[in-house]
Symmetry: C2
């Protein structure tokens, strides 16, 4: 009998998405409302509220909740319920000034121009951005991408309950991958799972990630490989390629009935420990009992200690979350152990040497650099199977080769005038 | 910073053992009290109360707690606190009749004749033994060793708070292994552990047990190999040999700082699911955040489904225990995976074939029978290292060889009249 963790702070999921006739009517009504633009991050947050991933939020946070979340990870408007990162909407002062408290406004994605939601404005407030950064990101250094994003926000926050009207391009562009929390829960229940470990992923799945998933399956009913499908940095592997590589791995080396894969629409904030907690909150809403927290989870640069995101789970009150972290150390293949291992299990401390031809030359722990990996792949040399399975490497290689072909087509097309640019 | 789970139902451990002058005085006082004999099981339970392993019990349970524990796993005398198995003391009716409510009695181990405790009798009651068996053991079949033990109890239960005066032979006979909960907690804190997985062990530690410990270390700060050092069935491996074999394994294949080993004084009840919960309660008192629950934990014969002991943790209220189960499936080495695995992770379903000379002949999952293992060892043939490390096999072989030598000495001694029997 499946018995999943309850949603966060609520017996039921609270999706704020309208559907069918109610949605149609709201879209018509929205035409007469003042327009507030949404950044990519705000759109992602809004969609998560729409699909119940941010249960039990009713909309963007007011001043008291912003303050409570920054200072104590608590929302005064929800009886002090735990919440680790402010979920806010910013607007230019001129626009904010033109909106009165109690007024309804329409929210539009500034990049796609799509109507995303309506909101009844219940609060307008300026924030101390540096305070938000210092508490949430533990730094005010603008070189931190999350800090830069907050500092670049417009100067007034608008708050209020939202009615969400769209999931943007996610359901179509990531068909078969993008999943709402209720769908994930139904799937887990159908499989009879009670304990589900979420594996946060935004990169290809090499041996180390596979080992995290493997260990999670040993101690839970199944693993939920939950990929970020928000915007990517240039050079990152697109989601469809990642999916193909994960499928190749799972089909051959796992029991398929123990693995589920899906995508979620958020942008990364790189808030390290606090973001790990946000990942925990919405994974609980997705029905996950555990979140795998590895080394430097959701971190960037060296702003956070490698295990700060694990430690913070020990610092919050035990009743803050039903979901528990599955904390794991740095993992690798060890030639002496003859298996995957971590700094906690492997007693051999020497580093394995892999030469420029991908050949093992001795030593214990295989810690392959990204640089050497790319070099081996681009030269068609073998990547040690102990680092990444050949099926995964084949998918990645096919992708990189197609990039090169595109570049060639592009160059050729430009020369013959077939392509615009 | 170490932050261990709290003891069960109490902010502090509640050891009932007297020490120093208080103990001496109580021993003198006990001389004038009526003597009540203790069975081996009752002595083990009493010592666990003495050292705080059964925190927050004050003594042997009265009628209301017996009934509440049997029917609902709740103790009415402790505000309905969770408790899975009755902890009771039985006495012959004639002896019980001679004791008045409010009277103090002395408790003596019936096998060693040692004074173990004093008790103020607050309740005398007959029980429906079949009801206890049906609720606790899920059977009244007297072929079940736990049922037989209950049915053989004397017919009246005596209850009341105890003052424990001895830990019997455990501290001396198992010096360096036997450990009190407060000592375990101090050790965990010294190591900086917060999450500790207990591995219940009463057999040698082959590859499968080692893998359980390995996985537990991956997801916790450390593993506590916690051996039963109560009485053994004939043919079982004695504790000192098990310790030597575990040391050999840990020293070579684990990071020693992640493994702790100790013993506890209880007898097995073979109550399967309910006993797994009792294991959980006292492991929480020892400071463990997790208990590894494998296949047929604490079971005997086929009285319980292989995962009943895991399922029961899902059936009890989530607040019943701070400790959580680490549920794992049947584990083995898989030649196709090239690693240890379980039914949940390994996708290869064929069975590996090992011939009578210990040689691998093909197939995936290595499920070595105890019979073949003993045969290989007794004939000096290699046991596959994938089943059990050579260091472990060497220790066991040395033990078995010494048994044979003893038998030879015995036979020789008998022939020359040196030995009585």
């Amino acid at each position: 009998m499946s018995q999943l963790v309850p949603p966060h702070g609520s017996a039921q999921l609270k999706p704020l998405l309208l559907e069918g006739a109610a949605r149609e009517a709201e879209i018509k009504r929205a035409a007469g409302l003042k327009r507030v633009p949404l950044t990519s991050r705000e759109t992602g947050d809004l969609i998560m509220m729409g699909i119940g991933g941010f249960t039990p939020l009713d909309g963007f946070m007011g001043k008291a909740d912003w303050q409570g979340v920054c200072d104590d990870m608590r929302m005064p408007s929800k009886d002090g319920l735990f919440w680790p990162i402010p979920i806010t909407l910013s607007a230019a002062p001129a626009l904010a000034d033109s909106i009165t408290i109690g007024e309804e406004v329409s929210l539009w994605d500034e990049e796609t121009g799509e109507l995303m939601a309506t909101m009844k404005v219940t609060d307008k407030y300026a924030i101390d951005k540096a305070h938000e950064c210092a508490t949430v990101f533990r730094t005010t250094d603008q070189a931190h991408p999350g800090v830069a994003m907050v500092m670049a926000q417009a100067d007034v926050n608008l708050a209020g309950p939202v009615k969400v009207l769209s999931e943007a391009y996610f359901p179509k562009q990531f068909a078969g991958l993008y999943q709402r929390p209720a769908e994930a829960r139904a799937m887990f229940e159908e499989r009879g799972w009670s304990t589900v470990a979420a594996l946060q992923l935004r990169n290809p799945m090499h041996g180390s990630h596979a080992y995290l998933a493997w260990v999670a399956i040993e101690v839970c009913d199944g693993v939920y490989i939950h990929q970020l499908v928000g915007k990517l940095k240039p050079g990152d592997i697109p989601a469809d390629v990642r999916v193909k590589a994960i499928d190749a791995l799972v089909n051959r080396y796992f029991r398929k009935e123990r693995v589920a894969m899906a995508g979620y629409p958020l942008d990364m904030r790189y808030a390290g420990p606090r973001e790990a907690l946000l990942h925990a909150v919405f994974r609980q809403n997705y029905g996950c009992s555990h979140l795998i927290v590895g080394r430097d989870h959701a971190g960037v640069g060296d702003y956070y200690g490698p295990f700060d995101a694990q430690k913070i789970f020990m610092e919050i009150p035990s009743e803050a979350l039903h979901l528990k972290p599955l904390c794991m150390d740095w993992t690798f293949y060890c030639y002496e152990c003859g298996s995957m291992a971590s700094m906690k299990t492997c007693p051999h401390e020497s580093k394995a040497v892999i030469d420029d031809n991908g050949q093992y030359q001795g030593g214990a722990r295989l810690l392959l650099s990204g640089t050497l990996l790319r070099k081996l792949m681009s030269e068609g040399k073998p990547v040690p199977a102990e680092f990444s399975k050949p099926e995964v490497i084949a998918v990645l290689k096919e992708y990189y080769d197609s990039l090169e072909e595109k570049v060639e087509v592009k160059l050729h097309g430009a020369a013959t005038g077939d392509m615009k640019k």
